[in-house]
């Protein structure tokens, strides 16, 4: 019967050992990243994602990990000015690029217009998706994709918000876009 064989298979599948690393496989090496204008070098294994490097190695915990699979957008950062999901790239691949995180957006105590608009329009509740929403919004406006409410909705859809702040996020992005014109 099918289900019997499936269970057998499942057990074997679950039990299949993973081969150990090849001898001589690399441990870590110096990885140099430029983040928010600062250039720093850390010993990192190649497998470390940009997100984990930012959070665990550079202490920049403003960038959040919501899914680690590119499905929520909480880890959005700018790389050479373009928005990208930092969980879906390796730190070692981003050497030599300008990385901007939420910590690098404000000018000292002066908030970036998008940050200010998010506060004004209550574009967040718990705040966990907010770093990613704001980084995405900065790029969305810069790309010229904030011309109408529906355009903002579509072009901000790579950032999920579970508190359900979407209408306020749209208002914040539209207001910030108007301000920048």
């Amino acid at each position: 019967m099918f289900s019997t064989s499936r269970r057998t298979v499942l057990k074997t599948a679950a039990a299949a050992p993973i081969p150990a690393l090849l001898p001589g496989a690399p441990a870590s090496s110096g990885v140099t990243l430029t983040v928010n204008g600062d250039t720093v070098t850390r010993q990192l294994e190649p497998r470390v994602t940009l997100l984990d490097a930012l959070r665990e190695d550079l202490g920049l915990t403003g960038t959040k990990k919501g899914c680690d699979r590119g499905e929520c957008g909480a880890c959005t950062v700018l790389v050479d000015g373009r928005r990208t999901k930092s969980c879906l790239t390796l730190a070692v691949m981003q050497q030599g690029r300008e990385i901007t995180t939420i910590e690098g957006l404000a000018d000292g105590d002066r908030l970036h217009p998008v940050q200010a608009a998010f506060i004004r329009h209550d574009g967040f509740q718990c705040g966990f998706c907010t770093s990613g929403q704001i980084m995405s919004a900065v790029a969305c406006i810069r790309e010229g994709h904030a011309g109408s409410d529906d355009e903002v909705r579509e072009w901000m859809s790579g950032n999920l918000c579970r508190c359900g702040c979407y209408p306020n996020i749209v208002a914040a992005v539209r207001a910030a876009a108007d301000e920048e014109q």
């Binding site: 099918f2 289900s3 298979v9 679950a14 090849l22 496989a25 373009r82 390796l90 969305c140 790579g158």
Partner: protein, 322 residues
Amino acid sequence: MQNFAYRAPASTTDALRLGTGTGARYIAGGTDLLNLMKDGVQRHDLIIDLNRLPLHDITPTTTGVRLGALARMADVAAHPQVRRRLPLLAETLLAGASPQVRNAATIGGNLLQRTRCWYFRDASMPCNKREPGSGCAAQHGQNRWHAIIGGSAHCIAVHPSDLAVALTALDATVHTLGSGGARTIGIRDFYRLPGDTPQVETALRSGELITAVDVPSTGLTGRYLKVRDRATFEFAVVSVAALIRTGGGGVVREARLAFGGIAPVPWRSAEAERQLIGRRLDDAAIEAAGRALTLPAAPREHNAFKVPLVRRALATALGGLR
């Protein structure tokens, strides 16, 4: 994920040399590969970063546009030549993924992304594609998103790419480079049906690279219609890329119909196309095309809805081209 060695070669020659080793894998955007590695679906000892290779360009050709394998989805979609000469392609690219992912994901990587079948993506579940011989849990399991056409008893996973569907309608050509030299593969020969070897998905040989995709400008009128369970940022439940050329009296001279979400490969239906040729694009012709498309359908427990849905989607797409 397990650790690996990392190289970023500056030439295709170096990349190919590294790529012939066992356990080696190329990375471009990384937007699918890293997830597969995190989930233990794929394990590699050497990751070869292709991003230094000169394969990023988007170039007009006499027949259409050549897309470098490393061109980003967002850049292709926004490229003036693409928007002018291949609007179907731009429309399709913008229907995929999210803005952030489109900034990172490449054309080559998009074509090689792997199925979203949840049994494939969970390394501890039975899956013949991931682990030949372990069984296909989708056959009698949760198969709402699975294939209704072209599957086998070994695999009914669907190919997730929107781009590949459009390229299949556009009759694109994939350029590759391997240790045996350069090859040119028509998109319809590029993808393989699962049969009893679902682990073999494409015509690519071990260590072979996609270098570019040639997309001919057809002069046909086209539309990509993507049907999904939420408004955006989701893979297709079903999708249709339709290209039509009509002559005098509105009679269809040429029709190209490709479908996503219904088959293990981007599905081109010559049978459906034949129903349109020489006829006006009226409801009867469209209905006949839909029937021809789904004639070979063999749905499973949870995906029978795809049969009427893909026919309705086809009708809607063609209706928009009348």
